[in-house]
């Protein structure tokens, strides 16, 4: 890996990439590049070792079986945990969000061990949450209201070591009035697929966590899309 560039590590696109998860890597790269920060996207397949020296790690959504397989391989590999311990930023979506917790449910809701980056436990709800979601982010993070699409049956309980990412305005999220969770530079969310394209503020949070203060960008298509989707969801 190039050590003068911002290294974006996409974990297991072969197992965890269901809903346009590629968008998160692309938008991080773009928003870094627009500020003159060189970037490198590293695809790590499930047969590869996870590099420890990345700056931002991305995990996407996946179906039941790939999710369990991915969790097993990440635990056995250990690279992601070591990277998070040395302060790398992690964004985990849907199945990925559940994987980075302590446990998650399989198709019969039996608990499966997660990687343990977040103090959360996930299981299955009674019905699938499908639709647009709107939520107000923890003010400590300085990220404006977020919006996205959720499509999951997960319910997630946060332990004392993890802070809710946001308070749900529209949608289900964790299932208890909150959506997502974070601790240090590790963040998880049910806003699937292109969560960062639809929320430039969230993308910039990850960049701030890795490179420090960054100059603002003039509003572009991402800001416009966010406003359009907020208006459509709130009415």
């Amino acid at each position: 890996m190039n050590d003068s560039a911002l290294r974006i590590v996409w974990i297991y696109p072969d197992l965890l990439s269901t809903y346009g998860d590629q968008g998160n890597a692309l938008i991080l790269e773009r928003r870094a590049r627009l500020r003159g920060i060189p970037t490198e996207i590293v695809h790590v397949h499930s047969s590869d070792a996870v590099p420890v020296e990345g700056d931002v790690y991305l995990l996407g959504g996946g179906e039941d079986r790939p999710q369990i397989l991915a969790a097993r391989r990440l635990i056995a590999d250990g690279g992601l945990k070591r990277a998070a311990e040395r302060g790398a930023a992690v964004l985990a979506i849907c199945a990925g969000y559940q994987i980075i917790g302590e446990t998650f449910g399989d198709d019969k809701d039996n608990p499966i061990a997660g990687v343990g980056l977040l103090d959360i436990r996930s299981g299955r709800g009674d019905r699938r949450a499908v639709g647009e979601l709107v939520a107000d982010v923890d003010p400590a993070l300085g990220v404006p209201r977020i919006t996205g699409f959720e499509n999951h049956q997960g319910r997630t309980q946060l332990g004392p070591g993890t802070t809710p990412l946001s308070r749900t305005v529209v949608g289900v999220g964790n299932g208890d009035g909150f959506e997502g969770g974070y601790a240090g530079h590790v963040v998880g969310s049910y806003l699937h697929g292109p969560a960062l394209p639809r929320n430039p503020g969230l993308a910039d949070l990850l960049l701030r966590w890795t490179v420090g203060e960054i100059p603002p960008l003039p509003p572009g298509w991402g800001e416009r899309l966010r406003e359009e989707r907020l208006a459509a969801a709130i009415g």
Binding site: D14, T18, G23, E63, R65, P66, L69, P194, R224
Partner: protein, 411 residues
Amino acid sequence: MSKLSLRARLAATLGLSAARLSRATGRGDGSVIGGRVALKVEPDVLAELSRGRQLALVSATNGKTTTTRLITNALRALGPVATNEFGANMPSGHITALSSDLEARNAVLEVDEKYLPMVLSDTKAAVVVLMNLSRDQMDRASEINLLAQKWRFALRGSPAHVVANCDEPLVAWAGLGSSNATWVAAGQRWKEDSWCCPECGGHLDRSADPHWECHECGLRRPEPSWVLDGDTVTDPHGRKHELRMKLPGDANRANAAIALATAAVFGVPPDNALPRLREVTSVAGRYSSIQRGPVEVRLLMAKNPAGWLESFAILDPPPVPVALSVNAQVPDGRDTSWLWDVDYTVLRGRKVFVLGERRTDLALRLDTDDVEFEVIDHIDQAVAKTGTKRLDVVANYTAFQQIRTEWGRVT
């Protein structure tokens, strides 16, 4: 068809007149409404209507309508063929199709992926044709691995002859549920949904494409008896046939190869089938060219990442511009995340117009791939601004239907 019960006959008659009514009142192609009425009157009518006939069921994520049309054209060498040619691919549409031609000995039915097990069980179809499975409308469709599992289970309990694409791991695994299969090497451009073994979840070794193999459980690509290579199909006797289709692109060459293999199962040899496949120039308005003033416009419908990838591969070269239109209504899927699974960099250096109800999503996506574009509100603006005599349009389902409706149901 004297075996048809009186009630089934009645249902068929009712269905037909409702279809006529629907056409007369301009509410659509008539193919869905007719069957909906019939289903209420006689639940077993599909089984009744299928009895004594040779049926082929055609299912896939992409190319169902086209392949159904190609097989139908080929089988007409044997006489009349009943078919749901307007893409009404659920049981109500099948009833309308079968009841509108009671004399046809052969029938070819396009079947929605989710309905395939049920329709197979109801119709006892002789042949099942499977082309591909990929991510599609995921806010409501079931996960495709689950779908493949249901296909596999349905085929295990059926004597049907399967004709399937062995280059698609999920489809091949489903087809291996049958003990009677013809494998066609028809290729696979979209691979993002098949890096995992459908049997055990292990990593699929695809380094020797088109071969694929799981080193954990041993599942591997079945040996094909029909092989598509470029524009040439090699049949089980080793004879080579040049396709020279009017329909464009690799996806349609794959559909044609599968249609040839299916026709052979019905007893129509390639030499007889191929000229009939070449007659097909447009399917339900897709691939058709429309003259709008001085501009010849070609309409391509693509509903999911695999479909968009295939469409980009058959665009006219620059300077011919392309208009992309995306909606997110219920039939399209309410979620536009899939836009991020498509690689748009092939559009760089080309004039691109963006429209549709979700044009802002598309604009951000193209911007991210450094593709220049112009946002417009109406397709006629693209026609007015082409600067050439041609325009290609790629649209997803309802966006495509909107353009067709505005321009007067072009077929």
